[in-house]
Symmetry: C2
Subunit: 129 residues, 2 copies
């Protein structure tokens, strides 16, 4: 029984990530709920979402409660852990692992508002204490 086995996580594909995001927002949900939410963003068929979620359950990305007819899907791994992992990968591949380079980019980014910058600064200030 190896600890790493649980940790090992397949990278989610693009559409899988979309579904994860919906589940992070809604919490454990039926396929119907997830699909309704996705429909707000794009045109997608119910069975497509169903299939995707089944695949994700197979991979272990999602878990499901089959005790009811309407299966309830939930995310297997902690949201923060998954995000941390994806962020880490992003920093690695885009900034050679340098988090400060990323922050620098963020600061220079026109799309990052003054308010955001203010919050980041306060965040760091708290960290100092």
């Amino acid at each position: 029984m190896n600890m790493k086995d649980q940790n090992k996580q397949l990278e989610p594909t693009k559409s899988e990530l979309e579904i994860l995001q919906v589940l992070w927002e809604l919490g454990p949900s039926t396929v119907r709920s997830v699909n309704d939410e996705l429909l707000k963003q794009k045109d997608v068929n119910y069975t497509t979402t169903l299939k995707l979620m089944q695949i994700m359950a197979d991979k272990g990305i999602l878990q499901r409660d089959e005790s009811q007819m309407k299966h309830i899907y939930s995310v297997a791994e902690d949201e923060q852990k998954t995000k941390a992992h994806l962020l880490d990968k992003f920093v690695d591949s885009m900034y050679k692992g340098s988090a400060s380079k990323l922050v620098m980019q963020l600061i220079g980014n026109k799309n990052t508002s003054q308010q955001e910058l203010q919050e980041i600064k306060e965040l760091l200030k708290k960290l100092e204490e």
Copy 2:
């Protein structure tokens, strides 16, 4: 002649991003050089890299100088601009556009070293002035 036409950028796929990263590092290069670099990371055929780079040139992600027999490929869009765009997309999709949430995650991330944190702090300090 619409300004947006130049800006419109197709999202690079995973392998396309790998090639972009090599080109960012090496600067304008031949397929051979890029492939040699990729070989350090993974097993890949010369013609595969060639094909990918041709596709990228077709899409406008890369430009090439065909005046010599060995074509020289270079990245069409500025590195920082592309990275800013990808980072922006990442923040949007993963943190609902909140850059400070991302930084918070970064700070809590075990894989972010103390030294990195220090650098980030100094960065922010400079920004204050």
